[in-house]
Amino acid sequence: MQMNLLQAVNSALDIAMDSDDRVTCLGEDVGHFGGVFRATSKLQEKYGKQRCFNTPITEQGIVGFAIGLAAQGSIPVAEIQFADYIFPAFDQIVNEAAKFRYRSGDQYNCGGLTIRAPYGGGISGGLYHSQSPEAYFCHTPGLKVVIPSTAADAKGLLLSAIRDPDPVIFFEPKAIYRAEIGLVSDEDYEIPLGVADVVTQGEHITLVGWGAQMRELHRAAEMAKQDNISCEVIDLRSLLPWDLDTVASSVEKTGRLIVSHEAPLTGGFAGEIAAAIQERCFLSLESPILRVTGLDTPFPLVFEKEYLPDYLKIYEAIKKSVYF
């Protein structure tokens, strides 16, 4: 059936809770209210207050609590209301969740843990309702980081994340929560983590992105088509671990690569992809790998459109790469 990305998230949570009574949803306003975006809508009604409940406004408390719950054997899905507010929980995520199995010699783990957080710009949210903090977490061994871009992927990836034996951070592109609509199966299905999706086959250049940025990449690819430039568009879907093989074999074919993300340029995850690809595909490259990203500023308010790496900026980068 047709679903938007938000309904797909809700469907995944519903199926996860229905199929395993250890699955528990918690976070600010996730209870009766169903979350500020309604991702947990009707779950408390269906599964009770013990398994879907509001928490005090304490991100470190939510994540710490969820880690303990996971260590005990539950499968918590903790919501951080906006990715911008994940930082009070940074220590719990980076020093605790990520290292829980390793530091105990595999005696204990919190692998049941999934942290969901809406991320990204495009909603006039300014500094604190727009950030894309994925790179911080990709720098932390022990975590998995997943970002869907379509409704069908959101459901399948979230079900995988919840059932994955390691802690997963699941960032949801809130700008396209309702705009991104597609056919989504009612069934229980999983999409494996760590596997990219080659959405569009192409010959001349590879475009890599994730989350809301995929819409911009597709639009730029359409424009380039008018110039007889054929783009291969890859949705990375998982950032940690990321699918190096798929991107590398694409770049070996096209000889060119653009990586695009909303987050600032310096230290962004595009840098990691560029470094790995130049190492692996050096002799196949026809032009320098380009990054089309946000600026190295806090996320702006009135200049949001100028800041964002939109399809026009990507289109210009495509030409720059192809006509290098």
């Binding site: 398994r51 408390g61 710490g64 969820a66 719950l69 595999d106 034996p165």
Partner: protein, 400 residues
């Protein structure tokens, strides 16, 4: 629970000191029972076990400090002075209760049955260390003893303990969580987050805060300005009690009652044990630069072990002859364990990359392959090179 319903027409500020919690105590300094105190329920078997474990930990701590000075360990940290606060509390709980501790509660681990060899394996990071040689000395953990592996990060276990206890309650287990931390850790945000989460979610967790006077060099007078930690629990809607941490009977009775209360009401409880860190913060610390010998001496006279011993002897449950033979037995056992376990090899090199994830991902295997080639090229430069030479091709691989 509603608040703010009682109205008043007068301006009256409630002072920080208005809520002052008394200290529960049973045993006097000379080992006798305070006349107005509740009777202790501690039986002879429990009492002698508690006492022996306190003596064991005191000896272990002294021996390990010496071993660290000799360069046989990289680091150590004692719980000297706080043995009663730790053993007395854990003794009030059941083996199925999870312990989530800070790092100065090795006495609780001993009470649960951790052996001398197991202590040594961790302290020496050898191939039998349950933590696979990944953490500094004293970061113990034991799944079979329900003792959650310690991390150095302060107070992080507090909200986790709330979640763990919530899980126990959801699964309908006759079990709760016992969470230890110190007076310094109670200044961390996670303390406040954890107590609030525990209270709001009705989780059966008992917090034991060891108020030992110092956080490294910082005295409690510079750590907080209220009446200690226990009143903060009340602010969060948590039942609170303060106990003389050097009084084994008071700590034990408060703990038995706290466990019962937490499970019966499905609600957290906080116990503040008032004690003193007799030793340095760790082997990297020298307390003579921030506190006086006179102050230390004052607390040595309140030694919880000596105090319990007098009580035991008065009851006819212990003798000097037993004491001597116990001391000798433990010293020999600990020394023998140190000698045998320090001869054991390092953990295999693949412990470097295993358990980062449940299944080691491809990119990490590739990094490990590169490392193996490099170590193979310069085996004498790396500790794991020995294994490389011993096994010919690549160092012992297990998990991957």
């Amino acid at each position: 629970m509603d608040s703010g319903n009682d109205l008043t027409g007068s301006i009256r500020f409630i002072q920080g000191q208005d809520l002052s919690i008394p200290t529960f105590s049973i045993l006097t300094m000379d080992g006798s029972i305070r006349s107005e105190a509740v009777e202790s329920s501690m039986d002879r078997t429990t009492a002698t076990k508690i006492y022996q474990d306190m003596v064991y930990i005191r000896i272990l701590d002294q021996r390990m400090i010496a071993a660290q000075r000799q360069g046989r360990l990289s680091f150590y940290l004692t719980c000297s002075g706080e043995e009663a606060a730790v053993v007395g509390s854990v003794a009030g709980f059941r083996p199925q209760d999870m312990i989530m501790s800070q790092y100065r509660e090795q006495a609780a681990l001993r009470y649960r049955g951790f052996t001398s060899k197991q202590f040594m394996n961790q302290l020496l990071s050898n191939d039998l260390d349950l933590g696979k040689g990944r953490q500094m000395p004293i970061h113990y953990g034991s799944r079979s003893l329900n003792y959650m592996t310690i991390s150095s990060t302060l107070a992080t276990q507090i909200p986790q303990a709330a979640g763990y206890a919530y899980g126990q309650k959801m699964r309908g287990k006759d079990a709760c969580t016992l969470c230890y931390f110190g007076d310094g850790a109670a200044s961390e945000g996670d303390f406040h987050a954890g107590l609030n989460m525990a209270a709001v979610t009705n989780s059966p967790v008992v917090f034991v805060v060891r108020n030992n006077g110092y956080a490294i060099s910082t005295p409690t007078s510079e750590q907080f300005s209220g009446d200690g930690i226990a009143p903060r629990g009340i602010g969060y809607g948590i039942s609170a009690i303060r106990v003389d941490g050097n009084d084994i009977l008071a700590v034990y009775e408060a703990s038995v009652a706290a466990r019962e209360l937490a499970l019966r009401t499905s609600h957290p409880v906080i116990i503040e044990t008032m004690s003193y860190r007799l030793g340095a913060h760790s082997t990297s610390d020298d307390p003579s630069s921030y506190r006086s010998v006179a102050e230390e001496q004052e607390w040595r006279e309140k030694d919880p072990i000596a105090r319990m011993k007098i009580w035991l002897i008065n009851r006819g449950w212990w003798s000097d002859a037993q004491e001597q033979s116990l001391q000798r037995e433990y010293k020999e056992e600990i020394l023998a364990a140190l000698k045998s376990q320090e001869k054991r090899p390092l953990p295999p090199l693949d412990h470097l990359i295993s358990d980062v994830y449940e299944t080691t991902p491809k990119h990490l295997l590739a990094q490990f392959d590169q490392l193996l080639d490099h170590v193979g090229k310069y085996p004498n430069h790396y500790p794991a090179g020995d294994a490389y030479q011993q096994f010919g091709e690549k160092p012992l691989m297990q998990a991957t």
